[in-house]
Each structure stands twice: as structure tokens, then as C-alpha cells.
Amino acid sequence: MVFGSWLCLLAPLAGFLAILLLGTRITRRQAGALSTFAVFAGFAGAVIAFVDAWGRDAHDRVEVTTAWTWLQAGDFQAGLTLLVDPLSLVMMLVVTGIGGLIVLYSNGYMAGSDEERRYFAYMSFFVFAMLMLVMGGNLLLLLVGWGLVGLASYLLIGFDHHRPAAVAAAKKAFVVNTIGDAAMALALFLAIAKIGSLDYGTVFSAAEDGVLSDTVVTLLALGLLAGAVAKSAQIPLHTWLPDAMEGPTPVSALIHAATMVTAGVYLICRTHPIFEAAPDIQHLAALLGLATLLVAGLVALVQWDIKRVIAYSTMSQIGYMFLGAGIGAYGFAMFHLVTHAFFKALLFLAAGLVIHHLDGEQDIRKMGGLRRFMPYTHATFLVGSLALVGIPIFAGFWSKDAILASALAYGGSLGWVLYVGGLIGTLLTGLYTFRLYFRVFHGEPAGKAREAAAHHGEGARSMLVPVGVLAVGSTVVGLLAIPGVWEPFETWLEPAVEPLVHPSTGEEWLTSLVAVVLGVLGILLARRAFTAGRELVPDGAVRDTLEHKLWFDELYDAVVSRPAQLVALLLRDRVEAPVVHGGLDEVAEGTLRGAAITGSAQTGLLRTYALAFTVAVAVLTLVFLVTR
């Protein structure tokens, strides 16, 4: 287990370093192969660790290993410590497994683009950073991973650094994420100040034992929640995710759908004792999740960019996970995380096939009728869509409905609000998903689709294979949790994160029935609108609002960005230029003058040196004699 964990963590890092150091000594193709190999080696490590843990007793599946202790001073100890338990094993498998498939896909997708080596180096680096986040043995290493995935995300969104839109999107993602990082760092500082440790165990027992005051626990949870909300693109820090679609499509699949954006859910599950000690904040997480899933679902109805529709659906699905984690259904939230990783990666990669086929076209108004030209893509995309909507046997059906059933079981006014809201979300999911599906694959081929059809295949084999694997995964992975029949996933996670709610089998099947009916209703409505040639949301104020994404960007621009710029300009003109800069110039000039004087004391003449020596000895002796 120890060996597997280290292999899992270090293989992607080794791949990153190798590509970085070998530079132009390897071809672009070899860089891709190296990166793919490294990530799959990490997957092998994760599997080894998993198999080992599987064979153990349920309560003996936690392994803490310390590579080395960096610095030890009194009680304080810093070093590289890994925590491998059922929770992190799930994340390790998802990150390296799905990550490996997506890196493999990238070999075909990125072929021929400039700077492939840089791309693959960044991808390996991202996988390493994400593993650091999920495997870190204390909150400090978690924060390190948290920051590093932010960096990797920034680098990959702005990968195409010649396009201003990509650079702006990368900057936006980084800035918004930094708000979360800063809040989280503050929470950690608070933990150090009040508890004196960042060790998971110490912090959790402090939170559980009620040693800390309510305010401290609430602030701690709030800081962590802010970090989670920013990374997982939940309201109100969600504005960066749609823009992040400026990155290459495989990046969107890996980072902005399958893994990094779900880190917030992982964080809540990992630090659940803190959230349980501050129930208000935990409920806030659930409500934010609900708000996000509804808003994102509505906005997705009017988007024209194929990737943005999927991006909003990602936000919406993570909303479900937050909802689940917020009411203590950790196992189901994590389960939805896993199934979502499969079908969302599938949707993105299939969309990537479409975009690749159409030479970079992303506007769904210029698509249509692709079913005929891309049967394989069509089939896999359909699987992904059905899984997303939650149609039985496909993955989303099992996981999403379990979360809703938990809301029902949670009860109270909060439970009912979440339940009803989540069901409305199911309807929305059916609407926007199949609006997209019909627009892209049905009807008459428009514009580019017709031209491209003549001279393109569906894609390279390295692209088709991962899509196929993910399609199979999206179909079967949901069977890991059949209510009342077979629930290995929950049993697996239970020793690591004990859920707070246990929906009865009846509640689960009832919820499933309602959700499926709503999802199918959504699909049928979307189909009717499509055949009638109508948009789902008619023109007018509502559509306008949705197209402007509820004016979040405009609001932030007016409330935060513009005043900040105004203050910055004022400070530059009134304070920085005259006072700071002027002051620094003075200091620098003084230093240079001092340097020149000191330098000129060095005459190069021996007699000067001897004189200085003698005087110094005399002074030293005199002082010693006087002070003795």
C-alpha cells in the first residue's frame, strides 16, 4: 500500500520533470507518450494500493507514511506525510485513471499543435498536484496541493497564450481561485493559532471535543467552505469556470470537469468533522449547491457554445455534490463525484471529437446532423447525455437520485427545499442536455458540418479508445450502488467518512421514479422544441438575463473590479509615485553613494591595509581593556 501510494504520487512528477529536463531532446510524440506512461504508472500505483487496502479489514485501511521529516523544532514538525485511506484511494483512482485516459486522448487531439511538450509537462504536473491535494497527510499539504492545482489550471487555461481571450480567462480563474485560497489559508492560520497543529486528527478531535469556541469553528468551516466554493465554481465564486473553456478541450475534461473542480467536494468530505461542528456552515454549503445547480441549469439553456453548455452542466452537477455533502450524505456525494467524472469526461471528449472534426468550431448553431457523419461520436455522446440526465442503468441515475433521496430522508424544511429544488434541477438537466444533443447531432447539417464531413474521419485511434472506455464506464460504474441490493461503494467509504443520513430503500426508489419522470419530461420538451424549430427560452427579458448569466460578471465588475481599479489608480498617482517610488529612489541612491565610498576606501596599497589593521587592533585592545 505504501509502495503503491508513492508510485502513484511520484510517477506523474517524474514524467513532468523528465519532459521538462529533456526539453527538445525528445520529440513531441515522445513527450506525449512519456506523459501518458507516467500517468498510467500512477494509476497502476493507485490500483496496487487499492488492491492491498481491499484485502484488509475494513478498519485497517488507513495508512499514514512519512517520507522524511523536513524540520523538527520542539513540538512542531514539518515533512512530507501521505494519508491513504478509502476516501483518498477513490480520488487517486479517479484522478490517475480518468487522467490517464484524457492524456492518452490528448496525444491525438493536440497532435500538430505547437508546444506539445509544454502541454504534456503541464498535464503531468497537474496530475501530480491533484494527487498531492488528495493524498496530503495534513491540512498544510492539502493547501500546497490546492495551490499547485490552481497553478496548473492557470497554465493550462492560458496554454494558447497567443489568444488574449485565453490569457484573460486564465487570469480570471487564478484571481477568483486566489480568493478561495486566501480564505482557506486564513482558516489554517486560525487553526494553527487556536489548535497549534494542522494535523487532520488533531484538528478534527479539537473540533469534535468542543475545545474551540463556536465562533472559531464557524470561521474555520467558513474559510474551508470559501476555498471549496472557489475551486468548485459554486455561487458566488463560479464566474471563472465558463471562461476556463478557453483552454484545450482535454484540459476542460480533466481539470474543469472530472477532477480539480470536484476538489471542493473532497475537501468537505475530508474535513467533515469541522463542518459537522458548525452545522450552519454545512447547511450553507448545501444551499449554495442548490442555488448553483438551479442557476447553472437555467443559464445552460441559452448557451450557444458546445463547451460552455457542458461547463454549466458541470457547475450544476457539482451543485448536487455540494448539496449531498452539505446534508452529510458524504458517500453519495463522493459517488456522484466518481460517476460524474466518467460521464462528464466522456461528454467533453466526445465534444472534443466534434470540435476536432469541425476544425475548431464550437458554436452549436453551426452544427447539426452530425449523427450521420460521426456515428461513434454520436453513440458515445448519447450515452454521456443519458448518464447526465439520470436515465436508468446509466451512471448518473444511481448517484444523483441517491443524493436527492438523502435530502428527502434529511427532512425538515431544509430537506424539502433541497429535495424539490434538486428535482427541478433534474428537469433542467434533461432540457439543456438534450437541447445540445439534438442541436449537434440531429436535423440538417449546417455550414461547416457539411464541408468537414467529406475529408475527416472521426479522429485518431488514441482519441476514440478513451472515449469508448469512458462510455462503457458511464454505463456500468453506477452499478456500484444499487439501493437495497448491492452497495459496495458506501460500505467502502464508511470507515473513512460516516454519513449522517441513511435514506431507506423505499425513499430511494420513490425519488428515482420522480426524477426519471422529470428527466424524461425534460428530454421530451427539448425534443418538441427542437422539432418545432423553437428555442426553449423565448426571446425577452428572461432570455436576456440568462444570456448575461444573471449579470454576475457585470455585478462583480461594477462592485469589485471598477472601484478597485479606481483606488489603485489613485494610490499610484498620489502615493506610489511620489512617496514610495521617490523614497525608494532616495534609498537606492544613498546606498550606491555609500557603496562608492566604501569601495574607494580600498586603495590597493599595502600601507593602507596595514594601517587599518593596526588601528583596528588598537581599538579592539583598548575596548577590551576598558570594559574588562
Binding site: W68, T69, W70, L71, Q72, T591, L592, G594, A595, A596, T598, G599, Q602, G604, L606, T608, Y609, A610, A612, F613, V615, A616, V617, L620, T621, V623, F624, L625, T627, R628
Partner: protein, 490 residues
Amino acid sequence: MIETPHVDWLALAPTLALLATSGITLLGAVLVPRAGERAFAVVVSLGGYLASAVLAAVVYDRSADASAVVVESMTRDRLGALAAILIALTGLVVTLVAAGDGRRSHVGEFYALLAAATAGMVLFVSAGNLMTMFLALEWFSISLYVLCALDTHRRESLEAGLKYLIVGSFGSGILLFGCALVYGATGELGFQAIQEATGADDPLFVTGMAMILAGLAFKVSAAPFHMWTPDVYEGAPTTVTAYMSAATKVAALVLMLRILVTAFPEQAEIWSVAVAVLAVCSLAIGNLAAIAQRDVKRLLAYSSVSHAGFLLIAIAANNPDGGKALLYYLIPYSAASVGAFAVVAAREREQGRAVTLDSLAGLGWERPFLGVCMWWFMLSLAGFPLTGGFLGKLFVFSAAYEAGWWWLVVIGVLATALSLAYYLNVVRALYMRSGQAPATGAVVATGGSPPRDRLLDTAVGAALVVTVGSFFFVQPLVDLASDAVAALPF
């Protein structure tokens, strides 16, 4: 029959190994055919330094308790052993750097003198009485005078040797006079005995102490006894400069710590203030003067003066933390210093002229490996995280703070800020070219750049590994250092 004292051969072994190396290389200069002279000397030297370091490690291992050996003329303890390891390894790395220096004359002599100087230093750090101290000091100093002047075809080298000799004899004279006064006041030579016999208020005694401190401060090149440093560092062959900047500093500082703590603990209130003042002078003068330099060797010379300042802070703290900080600091400092001078040596050989900030331009692009190493060395000397230099400074400052010298910490931090101006200037020079400078390929156009010197690259790589490794694997090094310091009577 004359009664011979008991000789602890193991304690002497690191010194003797180097002495033998020196003799064999010197014989090789005569007996080995000219074509193989260099290879012979290099191989023998490498073996000798390695053997000495290993023997010193054995001494370290087997000397958990300090003991006076060979009629109390030297001390066998972990402090001396750790310093000996460091010095011998410095010699090893410098030999790798020197192997490709293209020296045509005095090849055997160069390596013989280098080994002799190292032998002297290894003995010096274990000195147990004033006699051994002075003897060993002269031993390595005289070797170094000759080494500095060994490039007889270069005027600067001769000038450096002569200046070092004259000012050095002045310093030695002061030190010897100081020893005489202390002996006169106490009637004792041994450090331990001096402490026991002390008649603390005796003017003779205190004057002697001041002079010993001055003599050692001269070797450390602490201001205001530093004035020879830039001239000698600039003129001496670059490999010798690399060696002096690291090994001499280790030897002189460790001995200064040893003598002040063992022989003069009663006068700690007096000397700790004096050492603190010397530290402040070194920090101020070293950093300010370095900013004004264009010649990289001179710049690094002043940087070594400023580092003497940081290291003296650790001694002024006069507590076990200070000693630990001193020993730890010396590890990344020696590595970064030798490494930086090695890069300068490589540039010098490539261009056949003194290395200035202008002629350094573009090194980062032409020799990416050396460039990367150089900027790490500069970052370490400046004390950036991810390098051992950062932790060294941190430990020094925390020791000083512990001892109540908060104003010394403030000055140290200010000096660090000041030092960025010239360290980062070097990094800038590595990668940025001025507008009119010729673009890439200029060197190639004039006949191709010389091939890479594998041994030098190895040496620089090893220095980089130590510089960075001492950050990541700090705990074992700190443990070694605190075990070594445990031998001192704090």
C-alpha cells in the same frame, strides 16, 4: 630511554592522509612523465581527500565524548571531525574544478600545496593549545601564500601572493603576540588550562585575547581586517580563490568558536560584544562594497566578507544554537561559494580574461547547466528558500534572537535585503544581454566554444546538490551539527 607520549593515531589520521597525499603528488611531479603528471596528481588528490573525509567521519563516529589527545595539544571531538569532513570535501570539489584549468607549469606543486594546506586546516580545527593552533595556522597560510602566487606569468597573481604574504605575516604576528601575552599572563598553553588558570582581570591577558581575536578575524576576513580579501581573491588563481573562500572560512570560524568558548568563557561578555561589532562592520562593508563591483571575483570576495558577518553573528550568540547555526550555515555556504567560483573559473577559461558582470552576459543561454547552477548559488548566498542558505540565515538569526541580540537580527535582515542588489545583478547578467551585445552564436563564430569540462560540471553539480539538498534534508545535518556542538562547554 626517552619517554614518548601516547599518540592517538586515529585522531591524527585525517591530517596524515592529506600529508601523505601532498608528499606523493610532489614526488609524482618529479617521477611521473610529464604527460601523466596531471592525471596522477588529480587521482592521488581525489583519493587523499576522500580518505581524509572518511577517516574524519570515523573520528566523528567514535568521538561521542571530547578528549584531549597527544599531550593535550589537540582535541579529538565531533566539532573538529565535522569541520575536517567539510574541509576535505571542499578540497575534493576544488580538485575537480582545478583538473581542467590548463595549467602548464607547477602542476604537481599545485596539488601538493593544496593538499598540504588542507592538512594544515584539518589539524587547525582540532587544535587544543595555542602552539598547535599557531603551527597549523602557519602551515596552511604559507601553503596558501604560495598557491596565490602560483600563476607566475600573471602579475595579478604575484601581486596577490605578495600582498597576502605581507598582510598575512602581519596578522600572524599579531596572533602570535597575543598567544605570547596569554601565555605570559596564565603560564598555560592549553585552551582548557587557560580557562582554569584564568586571572581574568589581568590587562596582559585581555590584551592577548584581543590580539588572538584580531588574528583570527583576519583569517575569517571580517571587517575591518578584510582589506586583503578583494585583492587576493581577485588576483589568485580562481580555483585557489574558490578553495580559500570556503575552506579557510570553515577552519578559521570553527577554531574561533572553539577557542572563545573553551579558553575564554569567563570573558564572554567582552568578546561577544566585540564579535557582534565585527559582524556588523563586515555586514555593512561587505554588502555595500559588493554593490559597487563589476568584477565577479571581487564581488564574490566582498560577498564572502558579508558572510563572515553572518557567521560571526552565530558566534556572538554564544549559545549552543549559535554553534549549531554556524556549523549548519557553513555547509550550504561552502557549497555555494565553491560552486560560484567554479562557474567563474569555467567562464574565465572560455574567454581567457577576467570575468566581469559584462562578460558574464549570456552564460545562462550558452551554458544552460552552469547558468542554472549559478543562479541557485546566488539565491542560496542571498538566502532564498529552497536553498540551504535560507535555513542557515534563519538558524543564525534565531540563535541571535535567543541570545537577546535582536538589533543584530535587524541589521542582519537589512544586510540580506541589501545583498539582493548584487546577487540578483549576477543572475540578471547571466540571462540578459545589453542591447548592442552580439546575439547568440557570437562565441561560435570566433571558432567554437571549448567543449564542456566534465569534471568541472561534476563539481558544480555536486555543489548544487549540497546547496539545495541541505534545504530538503536539513534535519540530519542539523542533528550532526548539534552533536558536534555538544562537545563544547557552553
